[in-house]
Amino acid sequence: MRTIRAAAAGAVVMSLALAATACGGGSSTDGEGSNDAPKTLTYWASNQGASIEIDKKVLQPELDKFEKETGIEVKLEVVPWSDLLNRILTATTSGQGPDVLNIGNTWSASLQATGALLPWNEANFAKIGGRDRFVESALGSTGAEGQDPAAVPLYSMAYALYYNKEIFADAGIAKPPATWAELVADGKKIQAKGKQVIGAEGANLSENIHHVFTFAKQHGADFFTKDGKPDFTSDGVVAAVKQYVDLMAKDKAIPVGNAEYAQNQSVSDFAKGKTAMLLWQSASANLKSQGMSDDAYGIAPVPVQSGTPGAGEQVNSMVAGINLAVFKNTDNVDGATKFVKFMTSDAEQKILNTAYSSIPPVAAAQSDAAFNTPATVVLKDTLAKSAAALPQVADESQFETAVGTAVKELFAEAAAGRPVTTESVKARLEKAQQQMPAA
């Protein structure tokens, strides 16, 4: 017995010693930027195109251009969305990551809180041509208010209402709905023709968040108080979430089957003419790849309560998009800055945003003819006039999980035919709020 104990003690001591080395070795993460490796950069790009291989085909020629200009070789890795946040988290924790990376712009404040990203102060902005080059709404989603942005905008997107022209004509609908009441009324006509009204991704947490956020704005409510505390159970928020879920539960506009959608099946339903409408961000390239021609659908602003999108309660989209960030501990801080400058240059912005059917967050690039088609004008206007940034709080990711899951569960209840009431919505949101960190 004594030997067993001795051996066990030995094992524990040894593990502790190894563990201590592991803890102690964290110095690399503290390192500030340097220029130790001025000739190479690692770039993690998010998956923007139809597949990772397509992304590589879009990006590689541009990276080659950059290498030609500066002599800096950029090693590209396109990281699938399913892995991106985990990869960033482990990179942050361990200090082993890329030099430059794409982040979903809603993650900005959360990642900013880690302190791992290079802050874009005036000096850094000056190196890439100044803050003024970017559209104000896009800058609104780059980090917490009052702090230097943690990233710069790269691609911007906004929600729009995509509608199938043929179904609308068949149902005798002259123009796309501008208010939710009109949408529900049009829905009855569409259903009379045996078509589904509007698609949604009921089991996709991010999509749920984007929509209930917009609805909350339209009810004059916010998910967070001014000082950043979660406030999910105010009357406005409850009404907003209920209105969204009621599109399925009460108005029967969203087909029940959509409650389990989480992999963009609603886009494919729309492309195949099963559903008449879709709320989506920059769906054009997507729809085209699924064989829906550009003139088969129209694009209109997302409905608001009053009929005219604008600021405040007339907001009809979140500011969607991708930001470009630099890891603070990069070994090539000058090169990274140059690369950001290159990627946000007018010329590159035109090429990249055209390829991904997004809107350039760089004002000068927006004037290009490519972004003046009827489709992009709607998106551009929305971004400029009636889009709001998701809460820029450090707990955004928890918010997305807690509230997104609550909405998902509400959709599941609606789909099962159970009633969705103000009380049941409030109870779900109450629970979501209690799951938020206390701080």
Binding site: A19, G95, A113, K408
Partner: protein, 327 residues
């Protein structure tokens, strides 16, 4: 890793060089077993025990997005992460407890079904009949498919609108008055169970089939002479003879099923429906999705303690009356 292997191998060379007249010294003889264990010990220490110790340390820290970058200097949380996890009146603890019960129910059912199907199939296929080899090959297919491929196929079949399951149950057989949801809501538990059993039972089948071959034929023949029918033979000879196999099999299946992350994650994504909220995904969500690695680690440690207790009790109970298991 390579170095440890090489350390083991050269030991064989002197044997070839001087096969005759070689008397290993006493020290070498005592040291040899330790030397043989060394690679396994070092690797388990490196990949399992050290990270586990780090994980336990993490469970006492405040490890949110504000501190993960330099977690060594993150403030100590004392027992906060634990009290958060076990405060079953607050939502976090309540959700964890719910998830725990779901996992226990799921694990028990899944292990029972895997064992039952595997054993039944093995017994039925003990005697040769035409097509036995083919069937045996077919039955191993679920075990040989990559997890992602297998589970995503089930996702495809469980879809509400276009899935095969609803097509058969609703459209063709008319068993339900409207299509059911399998990937959300309450049915998700059964969906998960189905997939888990589909993937898990061939392993039980293999082990039991192997175990059956160790039962001496004479036992059956003796029983037959005693007038026992085939069903009685199964009850009186086959099942008791399998009990040492079952002791190992059930424990291993239990641990694997309880800790399984791949199946629920591929089936439901990062937010599992409440009815199928398995603890591994729950902890993953707490740590990686909501970035609270301290709380996630605390939950993991609690889970580890539970599994240790279960295993200890299980081994004690099942080994009673038998010679002590040497593992």
């Amino acid at each position: 890793m390579t170095t440890t292997i090489e350390r083991g191998r050269p030991g064989t060379r002197p044997v070839k060089a001087a096969p005759a007249n070689r008397r290993p010294g006493r020290i070498r003889r005592i040291g040899l077993p330790y030397l043989l264990l060394l690679p396994a010990l070092v690797l388990e220490l490196l990949v399992h025990l050290v990270p586990m110790v780090i994980g336990i340390v993490m469970s006492f820290k405040v490890l949110t997005q504000f501190y993960i970058r330099d977690w060594g200097s993150a403030p100590w949380a004392g027992l906060d992460n634990y009290s958060l996890s076990v405060d079953f009146n607050a939502p976090v603890g309540e959700a964890l407890l719910h998830s725990f019960f779901v996992t226990v129910a799921f694990t028990l059912l899944s292990v029972a079904l895997c064992w039952l199907i595997g054993t039944a199939a093995a017994i039925f296929m003990q005697d040769t009949f035409r097509g036995r080899g083919l069937l045996r090959a077919l039955f191993l297919v679920p075990y040989a498919l990559p997890v992602y491929a297998a589970v995503i196929t089930w996702v495809f079949m469980f879809q509400h609108d276009n899935g095969l399951v609803n097509h058969v149950l609703h459209d063709q057989l008319g068993l339900t008055d409207k299509p059911s949801f399998w990937l959300i809501g309450d049915n998700s538990f059964y969906a998960l169970l189905t997939v888990s059993v589909w993937k898990g039972w061939p392993f039980a089948f293999l082990i039991v089939m192997a175990g059956l071959q160790n039962i001496p034929r004479e036992l059956y023949e003796a029983a037959a002479l005693d007038g026992a029918g085939i069903w009685q033979q199964i009850r009186r000879i086959t099942l008791p003879s399998l009990s040492p196999v079952n002791q190992v099999l059930v424990l291993v299946l239990f641990l694997w099923t309880f800790n399984d992350f791949n199946t629920p994650y591929v089936l439901f994504g990062r937010a599992a429906p409440e009815a199928a909220d398995l603890i591994s995904v729950h902890i993953y969500q707490a740590s990686f999705v909501t970035w609270n690695f301290g709380a996630g680690s605390a939950m993991s440690v609690l889970l580890l303690l539970f599994l240790l207790a279960v295993t200890g009790v299980y081994l004690a109970v099942t080994s009673r009356g038998r010679r002590p298991a040497d593992a």
